[in-house]
């Protein structure tokens, strides 16, 4: 850890996800142990092996964009715009001519405007290439999520888009925090977004045998660490946090949710999709994040696991946690909130950052629902079924992605 680096705090939260279209509804659903998973309504699933997903429900895009804008934006951009606007509002953030150049945006996405690409490919096949919408490319490029957010909010500082599959949201927040810590920006709008409940994504993940086929019981399909887990659930949505340099936040009297104490980033260098047994890259990443935060394993109260509900991830992540924490007594509480949200892909790190921060401010360890038949090889305290009230000082949030990406964030209760 660089001793001269600045402290970074979280001052705003905003999200649209399968559990709710605002922070309050989302947190209430988490505390109630609700599932956001249901049968897919966005397309006809007759010939699809998987027929369930975590769709955003009852969301009115016209609260955030005009009808004209909506026609030309992919939903992954609309969700990011909505979440960023709610987060900025929550933070009472005012971007002015004076501070715009010190305010930046990093939003990650796993697969960007896949739905738009699918639709416009059909336009070529059915009507010919001349009928292609001129908004196809700007709706499809992953970095048009941060691009549109920057345009909307007037942020003229650093801008980037992290495309690291299911770790993208975590990587985005880690990178954004570093820019503030190292003095390159004062405020960062950071998080993740994806809207990939689409035929191509569902069939593609099915072909990899990566997603659950528990079509008859959608609400029970995401069951991390359970013996009967059979894959993850594709979910959509966005989650954005406002990160701010501590003294700036204090000077303007901002509400401070928590501090980002550190982060870690490692690569497995092993396989395009599967983690290696024991997932040593994940253990190393957690250790680096704690070191970056200047904390010890004994300081960690809660781990928001990657916990995808795939057979390999949950076993190997458990092994990685055990390898790092060894004989630590008591072991930190663990849970996978993907049991409720499903896997929001590039937005997963974003929503799990929000849940981690709320866990600290509310003193609540969110549950892992559907853990009805614990896998004997997954033997940590996963906080089954119901949330647990407890004072929480330090939370670690894990995200791992295809391509062997590991990213870990460490959040800490804010004290002067």
């Amino acid at each position: 850890m660089n001793p001269s680096r600045k402290r970074v705090v979280v001052t705003g939260l905003g999200t649209v996800n399968p559990l709710g279209n605002c922070l309050a509804d989302t947190w209430a659903a988490i505390c109630a142990g609700k599932s956001g998973i249901a049968s897919i309504s966005k397309f006809d699933t007759t010939h699809f092996t998987t027929k369930i997903a975590g769709e955003v429900k009852d969301f009115d895009p016209l609260l955030f964009v005009s009808p004209k804008e909506y026609r030309r934006l992919d939903n992954f951009i609309v969700y990011a715009l909505a979440s960023a606007e709610m987060a900025a509002h929550d933070a009472n953030l005012e971007i002015t001519e004076q501070n715009a150049e010190r305010t930046g945006v990093i939003i990650g996405s796993a697969i960007g405007g896949l739905t738009t690409m699918e639709r416009e490919k059909e336009t070529i096949l059915n009507s010919g290439p001349r009928r292609m919408s001129p908004f196809t490319i700007p709706a499809a490029l992953a970095n048009l999520a941060p691009g549109n957010v920057a345009i909307r909010l007037g942020a003229k500082g650093p801008i980037s888009c992290v495309v690291t599959a299911c770790a993208a949201g975590n990587n985005a927040i880690a990178d954004a925090a570093r820019l503030i810590a190292d003095g390159y920006a004062d405020v960062m709008i950071a998080g993740g977004t994806d809207a990939a409940v689409s035929p191509l994504a569902v069939a593609g993940f099915n072909a990899m045998r990566a997603i659950s086929t528990r079509n008859e019981e959608p609400e029970k399909a995401s069951r991390p660490f359970d013996a009967e887990r059979d894959g993850f659930i594709i979910s959509e949505g966005s989650a954005i946090v406002i990160l701010e340099e501590l003294s700036r936040a204090q000077d303007r009297g901002a509400k401070i949710y928590a501090e980002i104490a550190g982060s870690g980033s490692t690569s497995d260098a092993h396989h395009i999709a599967a983690p290696p047994p024991g997932h040593p890259g994940a253990a190393r990443c957690m250790a680096l994040a704690l070191q970056d935060a200047g904390l010890e394993v004994s300081d960690v109260d809660y781990i928001n696991a990657h916990g995808t509900s795939t057979p390999l991830n949950d076993l190997y992540e458990t092994e990685a946690i055990k390898a790092l924490f060894k004989e630590q007594v008591p072991l930190p509480a663990v849970s996978s909130t993907k049991s409720m949200t499903g896997h929001m892909l590039g937005a997963a790190g974003g929503i799990e950052a929000i849940i981690s921060v709320k866990a600290i401010t509310e003193g609540v360890i969110p549950p892992t629902i559907n853990l009805d038949h614990p896998d004997p090889q997954c033997d940590l305290n996963y906080t089954p079924h119901k949330p647990v009230k407890r004072d929480i000082n330090v939370v670690m949030s894990n995200s791992f992605g295809f391509g062997g990406v590991n990213s870990v964030l460490v959040f800490k209760k804010f004290t002067e």
Binding site: S66, K68, R72, R130, R131, S133, P134, F135, P138
Partner: protein, 82 residues
């Protein structure tokens, strides 16, 4: 295809109001797409594609480049369709 001038004007008006998300008050034949109606070059491409669909014609890029005012579209269509 035989279509009346009145019908062309009405369809153009309806399409522009819808595509550019403007009010009926903002619409006028003298309005410039970019300066008066807040359109950009991609909006104009999209609007011209809608006109191609509605009137079942093909509009070349050279012709597209000549379009600046609402009345340019109306005049062009009158000429093409009469």
């Amino acid at each position: 295809m035989s279509i009346g001038i009145k019908e062309i004007e009405e369809k153009v008006k309806e399409t522009i109001i819808d595509q550019l998300n403007i009010t009926e008050e903002e619409y006028s034949l003298e309005a410039a797409f970019i300066d008066d109606l807040g359109a950009d070059s991609l909006d104009i491409v999209e609007m011209v594609m809608a006109m191609e669909d509605i009137f079942d014609i093909e509009i070349s890029d050279e012709d597209l480049e000549q379009i600046q005012l609402v009345k340019d579209v109306v005049d062009y269509l009158k000429q093409r369709l009469s």
